[in-house]
Symmetry: D2
């Protein structure tokens, strides 16, 4: 591939580098006046799924397809009259993309979705959340046959496969294309008259359907984006389902061979917004329930339950409810976070984390603290937070984690460090406790997590209800591209 001028590049935002990162959110509407305004609002509500860049495509019979793609937040790019009036029409889709800047290299504006292709029967735009696990092989094959790729994105394969399909209409071409694709994908696409949504056969990534007034419909990664536009939540798109929405009607298709559902359990733990609804329950409630399970599985005597804000907050509330130990804000989050500051050369340790978090010294002094976080990835932030608490005079620090040890990378649309950077892949829990320097460290069990997520009987090892590959190493879709690059799957022995 060719690399573009770095001037396109967004600033690095390294502050949350000790978290797994959702790589995308998708949103689309049809049947409303000025659809692009709704799309921008939906993307804003999905901004937690991707902060690097965003794009909108809208269609209007007079001016055709129009697009705008920009690095940065939705609020900074898609709010002005001047931009929004270039995106007229009753039909539009949008995409927010996670920042890989700094860690994975280089993103150009042409990598920003939605992608657009013009076919003999008209144009189509497509946006995608997830990851195509056989993208490299597909790309080689398509180039061999004469396709010209314009981006480094795996999603561009879909549009080229569609271009080469022998089908006569775009939904059928999309079915053709998606049947060649392996991996996890929730797709939102549009033609001149149709809004289309698809989830892969296992339903790894989320996608929901909403209704706007009498004639309008929306597709969204999460329900929280339906709320912001005043849309009513209708239902989740089913694993393996394609919906084609046009003229106020929703048609449903099942183009793929049926497979057992394996929804991403990390959406429950961290990715989705707490006010979204998954499986009929608020994500907040599932997380609070994780805290309840954790308090049962790993109780400890202490004076205060503190969350690592904001991701540990619901579980900390649940832990406090179950244990009876008071809940308090021992760590305060700075709302004005941003890019890296220059560090004063001396006198200061742990600068990075202090930019984002500060200890509430007067509250935690001489107290035994139960610190609740959603996960441990590299462990670097956890260590610094513990240091801050001890420096401020905490008597004891007990770490409780709202997910099992993260031991395997995700290949289904989540940015994960390599295995050798995952603390839990390198150490036992006891070694991690010593490494982090805390008085105790406990993770919720996989069964406990399943129970909190509503599977009363815990995890069925033979047919797990969720994709939990990051914890279990059991990958429901073979990550072929990564295996080609040398990734080794879990062996029977592990």
């Amino acid at each position: 591939m060719i690399r573009d001028d770095l001037r396109d590049m967004p600033p690095a935002t390294p502050f949350d580098d000790d978290k797994l990162k959702e790589e995308c959110g998708v949103f689309g509407v049809i049947g409303v006046t000025d659809a692009a305004n709704f799309v921008a609002l939906g993307m804003h509500a999905l901004q937690h799924r991707g902060q690097e860049a965003g794009g909108i495509v809208a269609y209007d019979p007079d001016t055709g397809f129009n697009s705008a793609r920009h690095f940065g937040y939705v609020r900074d790019n898609f709010t002005s009259q001047r931009v929004m009036e270039t995106l007229p029409g009753a039909l539009g889709i949008g995409h927010v993309r996670y920042s890989t800047a700094g860690s994975k290299g280089h993103t150009a504006i042409r990598d920003v979705q939605p992608f657009f292709g013009e076919f003999a029967m008209g144009g189509a735009a497509i946006a995608h959340n997830g990851n195509i696990t056989n993208a490299n092989a597909l790309r080689r094959e398509l180039i061999e046959r004469g396709s010209i790729f314009q981006s480094s994105s795996d999603s561009e394969c879909i549009i080229h496969l569609m271009a080469r399909s022998l089908q006569r209409n775009i939904p059928e071409r999309m079915k053709d294309a998606l049947r060649r694709v392996e991996g996890a994908f929730s797709v939102v696409a549009m033609t001149r008259t149709k809004l289309i949504g698809v989830r892969d056969a296992r339903g790894v990534r989320p996608l929901v359907l909403g209704k706007i007034g009498d004639q309008g419909y929306a597709l969204s990664s999460e329900t929280c984006a339906l709320d912001i536009i005043g849309a009513e939540f209708v239902r989740e798109i089913e694993p393996g389902e394609m919906v084609v929405i046009s003229a106020g009607k929703v048609e449903s298709f099942k183009p793929f061979d049926p497979k057992p559902s394996r929804f991403c359990i990390f959406e429950q733990v961290y990715f989705s917004r707490p006010d979204s609804i998954l499986g009929g329950r608020s994500v907040y409630e599932t997380r609070r329930q994780i805290g309840v399970e954790l308090a049962r599985e790993a109780p400890v005597e202490a004076d205060l339950v503190c969350p690592v804000p904001d991701s540990g907050t619901p579980a900390a509330i649940g832990f406090s409810h179950e244990s009876g130990i008071p809940y308090g804000m021992g760590i305060i989050r700075n709302q004005y976070m941003g890019r890296t500051f220059i560090e004063p050369s001396e006198q200061i340790r742990n600068m990075g984390v202090r930019l984002k978090l500060n200890v509430n010294r007067a509250l935690i002094r001489d107290k035994r603290i139960i610190l609740v976080d959603d996960s441990v990835v590299r462990g670097t932030t956890s260590r610094k937070i513990k240091d801050m608490l001890l420096d401020a005079g905490a008597a004891e620090v007990h770490f409780r984690i709202a997910s099992p040890p993260t031991m395997w990378p995700c290949f289904y649309g989540v940015d994960t460090p390599d295995r050798d950077k995952l603390l839990a892949a390198q150490m036992t829990v006891d070694e991690m406790r010593d490494h982090l320097g805390v008085d105790s460290l406990k993770f919720i069990s996989l069964d406990g997590l399943y129970r909190a997520a509503g599977v009363a009987e815990g995890r069925d090892a033979a047919a797990p209800a969720f994709c939990d590959a990051c914890f279990s190493g059991e990958y429901p879709v073979v990550p072929s591209d990564m295996i080609e690059k040398g990734f080794e799957m879990k062996t029977a022995a592990e």
Copy 2:
């Protein structure tokens, strides 16, 4: 005055327009390598006190005084190598300024502090949090005598008064100048060799002293900015005190006639960060205690205590602790707030508040909610939040407010609406309850607030420990400029 080209102007940020606004934060350091880096970090930690603009002045023997002033967040302007290396030296001060854009007209970059003046004996820079209540009169007098004002800021008076002082050194000139000034002011200033801090005689606005390593000192509006640079909190600057710091020594002066202390009680309620320490206690703890007092003063049967995030959170925690009613996050805050979106033309009500807040529907459905907020100003946001809760299926909404009714404007450095925009100045509490459409509405009493703030006996009407003019209408400093413009003080009858 002359108005500058609007291109300087920051974007309007109208989202929190239903809050009182602190107008400034000040910070200074001496005796460290690359002082400006420390200043930028301190300003970042004080960003909640002012988001419109920020400025830094640093002094270095080789290149003299250097400055940088920019609209926008500290994180966006004072983090690059390129900017920070233009601000060398061991001594620097900084200022963050609240955005008055849209509401009060027009700010030019030359209105952004610190201000600089060159005197016969050398230059000085000065930054100021508060408000000079006789600035108009002083300005007229100075112009009459031949001073040229470059900004519309009241603080520029101080530098002109200093320029005309007959004293031989800058600290003495500053004393001369500040003795002519009425109002509330916490000043941080610098010469080529000295860092200077002053609080007005009543100590309305905060200012604290910190120590950095062996030789360094810092002055800050709040202690949270000492934490971020790893400085040790030494003590508050006293009301009416001037400290002059140089060569590792702190000298203390008392240049003003002594007056009873009247610290701003709204710093306790809302302005200061919860992790700051005021009067030996964390602000978080005072706010939690306000929740406890409120639960005692205004109990109600309910299922869930919810804060309006984030300012109502500590009081909601306290209310839950005292009442035993569970605490939950019924309202979720979007972290990616920004400028105004274009509203879709139909179908959506309450767009503004939805950009910032969403109801956690699954949690609050069919529940009786106690909603805790820090204050009611215009009441516009309160109404919308209540609507969102009822739309989402809440059974009852009981509003509990962590401050007494806000009935009077502040003239001491806080941006307040005119009296006729303050809901509590126009209605009784019962009328407000009906206007807001809630099932019950209770404010904490002034005595309860004083108790929570550590004055066990409540408010002493003859000599109140705090400035509480916004609640009581009792102004400790006569707001002369405003009276000249037609403001009417509270009469005996009120």
Copy 3:
């Protein structure tokens, strides 16, 4: 096609809207350190051929292909260390593009050349000056077969044709592709190891070869860009020739069926820079000679020969030499031209032209002026200049034009108004004289122009040495796309 956000758009530059516009310049180098620096310099020297945008692609074995594309002048985009160091390597090509903003609609950054394609055997980049006259038909055919177009540029066809070629190496694929293409094209292309140049069979657009030091080579639209980088002018690429340069060697191929040469005569009149060399002579000298011929064909008694600066200057000098009438600068050009000013609402006529030109009043007062310009397109500017001269007191104005009447649009890479906007297509010369309000108006004859361009016997109607379709209506290549859109070729009667 899809339209991108208008934020990409360059500002309109309507000041020269009464000229024909060259649409492009191409440049490439191989065998030098930091080739991109040479390319930027070459593009700067070719800036007169296109001011809207520019792009560079460079190849480096370590980082692969890198590109930068920007709207605006080369001097503003390709001079900083920061940009240029993203374009390492010994091989690079560049392109400058004429602004069609305002007149032809909308250019997106992805329309800016060079275009890049990745093939099974590696990548190639291509830049092109000219126009493909069967681009629409080719595009339809390629889309039908599954190619995805990313730009609205006709040049993108070439890269798709190459992608689908069955040949094993890139030069062969390029031959395959260019054999399918009709029109005028001078192509500069590159692979990882080769610099390639091609001129269409008739050689309508220019392309020259230069040598840099011992090992380096350059390809350029004009020789003036060889001068700026210190390269030696070797020879013109021949019509129908392809050169492939690699490892210090130049290989020559003739992939097309031979056709009679038809170089664009308007390059002699206006497009090329006067310091470039065409057919062994400086363009300046040809233009001076046009003035000499014009003085012979259309003499008139007068006091002063004045050019319309700067395009009429060489011909005016020649006219003065031949006629003996003194040469003088009656019109002065403002060097600081730019975008449109807001016109004061009253009192001023002819603002547009005054921004660019001013009359040297004291010089021309009461004089009979011979005004020499290169061409008349719409005639709007000519009228305003005449007005300015008369307002300033000129006694007589005699207009002498260094080209025949421009009566037909160009379809070979030049931006021309539609026929009904060409003054000479709507009026006889006498009507034009009256319309312009000048005392006399004479154009050079087509034979005179050929003589000045070095064809001593004048134009051979059976086999003209140049493409002069804009004057004669005789199109050497059938403009198929335009005929499809309704353009009517000259009939026998005309």
Copy 4:
């Protein structure tokens, strides 16, 4: 003084660094609708007098004084509707400022004129072309008395002196202030109702009066800026004259002690635009006449007279007329000049000058060239141009200079190198010839220059008609500040 953040800084433009630089142009209008549009146009026409920055102040009864100040060209900053509508009113003044970036350090936006001051009786804005030679002493005195300077500009003294004047109205205060000021100054100023123009007692810098329609008036540094707005040239402001224009009336005052007129002769040679009128003649004609004189004083046998474009063009035309040797464009200027390019590391000499100029190789080969330039300052560019000519095959190069040797710096508003950088201060003419490597080198005599400028009898040594200090070392105003800094005046011996 304090230095501002470098982000304000304009890009360096080092291309003409071998010229003396006019430091400013001033312009003002009264009595027209939307005066700021006229001011912007006038500034555009005066852009050759200063390219670094520009500022406009306008007054409107509804919104008061408004200003806009920007780095860069007028065309880029003062053409948009959005900016211009912030400058309403019938009265406005403007200023263009020469770039000292790189050479003299650092300009901040607050150094950009016009300056504004608010006095007890209302505001005034002032713009100034020239230099105050006792500015340092005045500044010290004003600071001692308590004035706060905001810029490093000498012009700010005037506004402070006005602020301290005891007079009751602004024109009288301006007289008071200007009587304290020494040096060369042409001032344009405005109050709420008056446009004011002043030239210093010797009239060193130009200033002219124009009439717009029935009621409007304009003041401008040069007449070419009257042409662009369609204003009629009325007369030059006289040395020592102050005009106060209001309500369609022009009042004239003579506030200074009368002195002999000493207009800057370098305005004739280089600074003023050729289409401006000075002393009743076009500057173009004076320069052409310089060429005539030069051909008489320093004839030589040759084949071609070539100007160094564009400043040498009129003199070259005159030289050709007088000598009969043909005039030709041996050097071609690139119109798209800009900031510095990165130089390819090898193979290229004389890059800087090639970016701007190219030799017309085919024309000059084997010819004896008379090269005419306006002046020699450092000589660096002259050398490079000669190299380019010889490289391209010129047989001989004879240099003819349209001014006497520049041996002394100017302290009256022109940016000159120090004496030790002026080639003519370091060498005899013969040494310069050898240093430059040309076949002959001749400067016009001071008498010849005076004759060309219309003083038939040449220079009167006892009472020269012009300021020619840069040639003669005879300074009509003592440069006190510079003498204080160590500058040594010419002694009797020199």
